[in-house]
Symmetry: C2
Subunit: 540 residues, 2 copies
């Protein structure tokens, strides 16, 4: 067996001392507390009846039957690879409902044959060169939080094998430029490790996707991740100052610039490329001072649609709140942020120094004009409903994991749409989700929120929880996914606002994007990855 687990970990300079679950979210041993588990069970029993809640024990790596590795690295590169079962299993899936269900069933038909753990860029280049020569597929792996099959080495039969290229060994902040509030960061840094290195400089990237703890800078860029800013600079794309990408044909390094008009943006070609054009190894990122001044409020509305109108008004005002999210009554209730009778708009402003009370006051005026009732303001920032919601938001992946253990069908769907079509779109998509789950599961909790708002539209987010039929979970999920995706596509939305395309969204992505653009991207890929070894099956 190549690279014992301890050795492999060692290569990452002791950063990762704990082992990640191969079947769920986070580290082994972490999850909901027993009291939380029981509270969730009671809530589900209330909604679906006492028999709806099953109890599946988590799988053990010893119970997996993993296909033996089909390939071996050359001896000169042996030190870069591991094939220990836990690592192979942990790199077989991302963190979607489908992934959790298959892992719970101990079904892992396409594990990577090898996991590569480069400690330096030269190692990445060496792996790419070898893989090209040997016709081995390479799946770049950051934090592994994909919910769309983006890191799953299901690469088809055209390859001798598949390697998961885990960048966790490249996780350092290499340089900080305080004048330009920028830093050169290695792409494998997970959220907490990135922020911990920036903190002594009193700077922050302030990019908090829900996956923050277990997703990497490179993964965010490769998937056009959206952070916790609800307005203005939502997608990580805007914070990318320059990129360094290793392709099978060599290194691409773009120039550090605050802006340029020189041809199509080179960085934007790689933002969203999902590992198909090259491996992002470093990025100069635009940072911010840590916010010191905050003002926040919660505004209640009788209906979600009213809250959405208020959010639109705020998004179009030029006030640029740091938080501006609308929760429907169920979403608010489930997150512990309301009594279930009102939709809530969570509003927050922040700054590195100047008072933001006038900003909040102007935004609250706009909310009142739309019928909002201001429930509470807090000069200190994220407290009350907003604080409760944020804590719940970051815990949510553990909840999904537990829902799977309880035998629930649990999924999230996200998209974006312009305001003119929002109401009809939202009714149709949430209606399709409710109707399909009712058919499939006899009933469901379907909640929604506006995760992000823009002057010209919103990004609605839907959460579905329903009792799955034991053994039919994947078919039920697929059926629901098709219903949601077809509705979204037909009504003019995007197949993904921030979950990316991966393997799961590909059929709809290829219908959303103009065919000639796909041709152009394929031609660009052919140029950078002539042997087609990079993440085959994703996007293109």
């Amino acid at each position: 067996m190549l690279g014992t687990c301890a050795n492999a970990e060692c290569k990452t300079r002791g950063v990762r001392e704990r082992r990640r679950k191969f079947w769920g979210w986070g580290y082994e041993g972490d999850g909901l507390a027993p009291a939380e588990v029981e509270a969730l069970a009671r809530r589900l029993a209330d909604a679906f009846g006492p028999d709806a809640v099953r109890r599946h024990p988590p799988p053990r790596v010893e119970d997996l039957v993993l296909r033996p590795p089909r390939i071996e690295p050359p001896s000169s590169l042996r030190h870069l690879f591991t094939n220990v079962p836990h690592e192979r299993a942990a790199h077989a899936y991302g963190k979607s409902y489908r992934d959790f269900v298959r892992a719970f069933r101990a079904e892992v038909p396409n594990p990577p044959d090898l996991v590569a753990l480069p400690a330096a860029e030269e190692d990445v280049l060496a792996v790419l060169a070898w893989a090209g020569d040997e016709r081995v597929a390479v799946v770049p792996y950051g934090g592994g939080s994909s919910v769309v099959g983006g890191v799953e080495p299901d690469v088809g039969n055209g390859y001798r094998g598949a390697v998961s290229l885990d960048l966790r060994g490249l996780d350092r902040v290499l340089e900080v430029d305080a004048d330009s509030r920028s830093a050169l960061v290695e792409a494998g840094a997970l959220g907490p490790r990135l922020e911990a290195q920036l903190e002594p400089h009193e700077l922050t990237l302030r990019h908090y996707p829900q996956s923050f703890e277990f997703s990497s800078l490179g993964g965010w860029i490769a998937t056009r991740s959206a952070g916790h800013y609800a307005t203005l600079h939502t997608h990580v794309d805007d914070f990318v100052q320059a990129l360094r990408i290793l392709t099978p044909r060599g290194v691409v390094e773009t120039r550090r610039l605050p802006a340029s008009g020189a041809g199509p943006s080179p960085e934007r070609l790689f933002c969203g490329s999902e590992g198909t054009l090259g491996v992002i190894t470093r990025a100069w990122m635009r940072l911010q001072e840590r916010p010191r001044v905050r003002a926040a409020a919660t505004v209640a509305f009788h209906e979600f649609a009213m809250g959405a109108k208020a959010a639109r008004s705020v998004a179009q005002s030029g006030l640029h709140p740091a938080n501006c999210r609308v929760l429907d009554p169920l979403e608010a209730f489930l997150a512990g942020s309301g009594d279930g009778s009102s939709a809530l708009l969570l509003l927050a402003f922040e700054s590195p120094g100047h008072d933001v009370a006038p900003w909040l006051a102007a935004a609250l005026d706009l909310c009142r004009e739309q019928g909002g009732i201001v429930e509470g303001t807090s000069p200190g920032g994220a407290v009350g409903a907003a604080g409760a919601w944020r804590r719940a938001f970051l815990r949510m992946p553990y909840v999904y994991e537990q829902l799977v253990a309880f035998g629930m069908l649990a999924g999230t769907f996200e998209t974006a749409i312009t305001w003119d079509r929002f109401e009809a779109f939202h009714d149709a998509v949430s209606g399709a989700l409710s109707a399909r789950t009712a058919e499939l599961c006899g009933g469901a909790l379907v909640s929604s929120r506006l995760a992000y708002v823009y002057p010209d539209g919103a990004a609605p987010y839907y959460t579905v929880v329903a009792p799955a039929r034991a053994g039919a979970e994947l078919e039920q999920w697929h059926s629901l996914k098709v219903a949601a995706s077809e509705a979204i596509l037909a009504l003019g939305g995007t197949i993904t606002h921030h979950h990316a395309v991966g393997r799961e969204h590909r059929p709809w992505y290829q219908r959303e994007v103009p065919p000639l653009v796909l041709d152009a991207l394929r031609a660009a890929k052919q140029e950078l990855d002539p042997q087609g070894i990079l993440n085959p099956g994703v996007l293109l």
Copy 2:
């Protein structure tokens, strides 16, 4: 002769009743008033001596010797073309110093053989199909304001001829979506025509490049134009919601979305493509309410560098002023905004409704911390120095035209650089410009401003005026351009922040952008324009 002038104009539904100069800026008959001309002459004589100012009469189209058209359109498309000399001459050049000098000399070696004036998208497709079959180069033409040779049909010997494809007939706002504050606009609309159609809806694109009067929406998108917003959404890219592009292989139409994470942004592939990948014919643009509330101020600094530090502080504050420009003492003086002893920072905030006085107050606090002396604030907005500067800014192209008539070498250079390198970069670039012009012309006025500021850097802009040596203007200009561009490239800047690449910046562009990115773009072009007829010689 094809299409008399009157007929050609007629095709544009009467939008353009007046004839544009082929040798300078704007309509025939427009320019500086006689008193302004004499004031400028006196100022130049003060700076360079009484003999420095020559008087060149503008050229007449009758004096041009234009190569006879080498191609003829098929009879079925005859109605789409004109070959009248004035139209051919007016489409031979953009509006750079080089262009003005060559037009004054009546040197027009590469006029388009034909000018196409499509009245509908089908006409564009027909022209592209015919041009592909006949190996004719097609140069998309919007407002013709390129200062980098972007519309000059200097396409080399690989083509049977060259057509300038003037989109002025496609200039309508087709649809307005007030809810999403967006409009579908034909790409040939020049700035004033675009805004005039939006005004009844109380909306504005609010994109004011210096070329506003004679540049088009499609041109702005194709060149990643920067508008008058000094911070936040500077480049037009951010306002593009969806695009429709006609390529030789067919139509590309992207989906109207407020945001998406589905693969690399299709729109960003075409922003900055400068007519090489397709002809942008329509765009859904993100608009804004017309600003109703303004607050402005002018802040004086002893030195440009102090003003730059204050601008950096404001740019990093999250206050997002609509204007935040720093003029060096000479720039302020020449624009009539100061007495020449101080650098000035022009600061303005605006909103559709809420008071912005607290924003201005917070920004002025930051300016005072950097040693700024607040010269005057205006709750009404752009008055005082800022107002004077803005008026001068929009008149500037007429000044350049007059400078050429006076025999001056007159050029502008623009770039962008991160803050950490700004001071050394600025000293070196302005130093290189002064030194080279002193060598070439015995002396020069070199002024500079920060045209745009970002949290991570600035876009400095340099203006050079010097007495040219009669007959050697182009060689002197080239020598100066090389000196500036080499300095910019060596010190880490970009060859263009908002003037685009065209033919003139191509050598430096190709050194600025990673070679593999150029390969990828070439592959994308090959896919969309397999015969290579679109704007050959630009970018790639």
